[in-house]
Amino acid sequence: NINPCVQIIIHLLSVISQNSAGQFFSSGHTNNWAVLVCTSRFWFNYRHVANTLSVYRSVKRLGIPDSHIVLMLADDMACNHRNPKPATVFSHKNMELNVYGDDVEVDYRGYEVTVENFLRVLTGRLPPSTPRSKRLLSDDRSNILIYLTGHGGNGFLKFQDSEEISNVELADAFEQMWQKRRYNELLFIIDTCQGASMYERFYSPNIMALASSQVGEDSLSHQPDLAIGVHLMDRYTFYMLEFLEDIHPASKTNMNDLFKVCPKSQCVSTPGHRTDLFLRDPGSVLITDFFGSVRKVELTMDAINLTDPINPVNGEEQKEVYSYADQLPVSEIIHQKPKQKDWHPPDGFILGLWTLILLVFFKTYGIKHLKHIF
């Protein structure tokens, strides 16, 4: 009849005392996943895509493979018509750092980034035809990093300029993940205006949350690039990226340093964090527990002695001969002469513009000039 709280404390103390021994028990995870979401569309929200891609780049550099990253970008900035440097997304002005790279793998793109798809990815309720790369196949020993960026408000995050996800729905989704033991520990980072409101309603255990601004504050962008014409990054993610550039797979930096990233003097907004739902002390949580993928290994001490000779596989080896089917006759295309451009009638805009000009002219100078025209 011991008070359950005392029982729990005794158990936790014994767990923690065992935690100090052996790498196996310090974090309890065996694999890492990352879900990186950019929720805004349109060219002037370039910075949100750049935010997400820079986090993607850091996470890949620290070891999480593409098969364990679910990247959702709501709009295509690299191939946008207004991008003066196509196939690039820059995060530093003067085009210092191209975060798009040449091996980016976007899992959900454009209009596929919706609240419904995001919740489906988190809870696992995807239709059976969904390929592996679009699923979050985490288990009870996975540490998941969830990064959201976009435009938000008090208690909601805007998706695609047409819908929103509320903090209650997000908290419920995380609770469903916990019920099905789809994560061991979860790190939630959000870089939007009033971001702290999104983690207020969490109630599942083992979640740590960081936000770029408190309720009532706006998250500001960092620097525009005059050649591209838009702001390139948000402040919080910019300074977080600088912090992450110093982390390598074997570093021992812990979460308390991440909480200090971007103080009010640099960020103008006040970043916030929430650790009350997290079991371990944040000082003992390594950055690489979430951003990297450090594997645990064991040496194989036994081997089985096999003495039977190999049975030759019965029948002849039917080697199918495959031939490569030329999908696109590139050589024929590139040597073509340029096609004659067909004449198109002027579209409505030009027609309207000329009508306006004519109307103004006749209004100012009087209708008597009309006979000179016709």
């Binding site: 390929p131 699923r135 099905k180 255990p205 290994v297 089985i304 596989v313």
Partner: protein, 590 residues
């Protein structure tokens, strides 16, 4: 005047009838059309299942060979005894703690917080032990020169069903076991226990049995289910229970129970200019791996594929160690080897089954030979390492196959028996066959050519059944809780049917476990898991309808208020007129 009276009456009747239609017809219609379709779920049965009570039962036969019992003791044999052990495993304390803490954090919804706690799990173990004496054929079998041969001939005589054990008690004088060994555990479901001389002199049968009991209990701990195994299998429900180090490491290493697994064998050749490698993977898989997988087929489906990758280096540069005249990788740098390689390994896009990767790395000629060293700078004999829930990597050195003047590329045939020996050992570990260190005085026979002893398979089946039952129960209870909490989710008929079939399969599985039919229990538990996962992860159960109260008011007020205001006002007018008339009547009377 009469006309206005009629009109007034008509007006009153109209108002009253509109109000009546609104209340009697309108409100129920609105209620019915805005409610969500929710098929019936067996909630009470689910609540019963939430208090998980597992009864595990194993049949043990103890056979006394000639020379172990005296004739007086022999008269009382055959005999049957039943032993029950009961354990209560505390529920997930962390969960309870978090739920208690977050009671005020959770939004106020109509659900009973006490109902679906992950409660304590009650486990009851029963061993039905039958004692008898050996038959003549068994005596002949026990006279064989070595224990392994005796084991084989005993197996030929009778095959024990899965889940059961036979323990043969042999006399002190028997030469089957070497000097310091008292117990021999065979490849199938038999064990040989040597009785010591002082045990049998001048005792009654009960005393003899009491003396034998500790040894038999030890045998059961090794060959059949043990409390630690079962608690490890229940790690979903009892997450933060401090156990011993090995059991926690075991629970993290083995893959969770899944209906299927994919095994991928990859040959990494970073230097094709120097080495032209040839491996007969099809034959090797057919000869060495397939028997194990066939034996494990009641547990899960396995699919295998293989690939060869060229120009893939390890992510770590090995260092040259002059004392060994070879390149070495020490244990600390092994953790960084896997990630760069994993990016290049493909995976089957169609299935969501967990993948086990087995990589064979042949070092390039500039870094040959390459050895793996442990923490004490000793060479690891298998030259291989594995990562929990991922797979294994083995380094195969080929520099011994050719001299220094050969023409490159050198054609090398890889010795698949050696390679598959290591991979098989890693596969066993990753699938959850625990490598126990047996107690002193025990000799465990090496597993046969299939790579798995029958009793090891039984242990796997016990823990898998328990794990499946626990997981299915948790899934069903959390699904019921979720659907209870969120009133807006539509519950289709197919989901209700899946839930019912999951509940039925769970009940059947627990019943079969209680009786001791391990094969059926595993099958029902697999069905239960499949049905519960299908129900939980059904794409239609997405909760997208969260309506805060102010939004609800904002929608309904513009619709209903303009309609209700005239009706209410006319009602009030009728009532006030009726009251006035009554007052006039009373005034007239007086």
């Amino acid at each position: 005047m009469a006309i206005t009276e009629v009109e007034r009456r008509r007006g009153q009747l109209a108002a009253l009838s509109i109000a009546a239609v609104v209340i009697i017809v309108g409100v129920p219609l609105w209620w019915r059309t805005t409610e969500t379709y929710r098929a019936w779920l067996p909630v009470s049965q689910i609540k019963d299942l939430a208090k998980l009570q597992l009864h595990l039962s194993a049949d043990v036969e103890v056979v006394f060979a000639r020379g172990t019992v005296t004739p007086e003791q022999q008269k009382k044999v055959p005999l049957t005894q039943t032993q029950d052990e009961e354990h209560t495993v505390d529920g997930d304390l962390l969960m309870q703690f978090m739920i208690l803490r977050s009671q005020n954090m959770k939004p106020a919804r109509s659900f009973d917080s006490q109902t679906f706690f992950p409660e304590d799990t009650t486990l009851r173990y029963r061993y039905e032990t039958k004692y008898r004496t050996a038959t003549i054929m068994e005596e002949d079998a026990l006279k064989k020169p070595t224990a392994a041969e005796a084991d084989l001939s005993l197996h030929m005589l009778s095959e024990s069903p899965c889940g059961s054990l036979v323990v043969y008690v042999i006399p002190e004088s028997s030469s089957l076991l070497p000097e310091d060994v008292n117990v021999y555990i065979g490849q199938r479901r038999t064990a040989l226990v040597r009785i010591s001389a002082q045990m049998r002199v001048g005792k009654t049968l009960e005393q003899l049995l009491a003396q034998l009991e500790p040894q038999i209990k030890q045998v059961l701990q090794v060959m059949s289910f043990s409390h630690t195994d079962i608690t490890v299998a229940l790690s979903d429900r009892v997450r933060f229970r401090p156990g011993n180090k090995e059991s926690i490491a075991d629970s993290m290493r083995a893959f969770k129970s899944s209906p299927g697994y994919e095994i991928t064998f990859s040959l990494l050749n970073p230097d094709p200019k120097s080495h032209q490698l040839h491996w007969d993977i099809e034959g090797a898989v057919q000869t060495y791996i397939q028997p194990l997988l066939t034996k494990l087929s009641p547990l899960a489906n396995f699919s295998m594929d293989s690939q060869t990758l060229y120009y893939t280096m390890l992510g770590v540069t090995p260092r040259f160690d002059s004392s060994f005249e070879a390149y070495t990788l020490n244990a600390d740098s092994l953790a960084h080897v896997i990630n760069p390689v994993e990016a290049r390994l493909g995976s089957n896009a169609a299935s969501s089954n967990p993948v086990l990767n087995f990589l064979l790395y042949v070092p390039d000629i500039r870094h040959s030979p390459l050895y793996i060293h442990d923490h004490r700078k000793q060479e690891v004999p298998s030259n291989a390492f594995h990562s929990p829930r991922w797979g294994g990597i083995m380094v195969y050195n080929v520099n011994g196959f050719y001299g220094s003047e050969t023409e490159f590329p050198v054609h090398v045939n890889i010795n698949m028996a050696k390679v598959m020996g290591v991979f098989l050992a890693q596969l066993r570990l990753l699938l959850g066959v625990q490598s126990l260190s047996p107690p002193p005085g025990f000799l465990v026979a090496p597993c046969g050519s299939t790579g798995l002893a029958d009793w090891e398979l039984d242990r796997l089946m016990w823990s898998r059944s328990v794990e499946n039952i626990a997981t299915a129960t948790t899934t069903i209870t959390s699904l019921a809780q979720l659907l209870d909490q969120i009133g807006n989710i539509v519950i289709n008929d197919n989901i209700a049917q899946q839930v019912s079939s999951a509940v039925t399969s769970l009940q059947l599985a627990m019943a079969e476990l209680e009786v001791g039919n391990l094969g059926f229990a595993l099958q029902y538990s697999k069905e239960a898991i499949l049905a519960s996962e299908k129900a939980f992860f059904d794409p239609s159960l997405l909760h997208l309808l969260y309506f805060p109260d102010d939004q609800k008011f904002a929608i309904y007020i513009p619709l209903f208020l303009p309609m209700c205001v005239p009706i209410l006002l006319s009602m009030l007018k009728i009532v006030s007129e009726a009251r006035q008339r009554r007052r006039e009547k009373q005034a007239k009377k007086e």
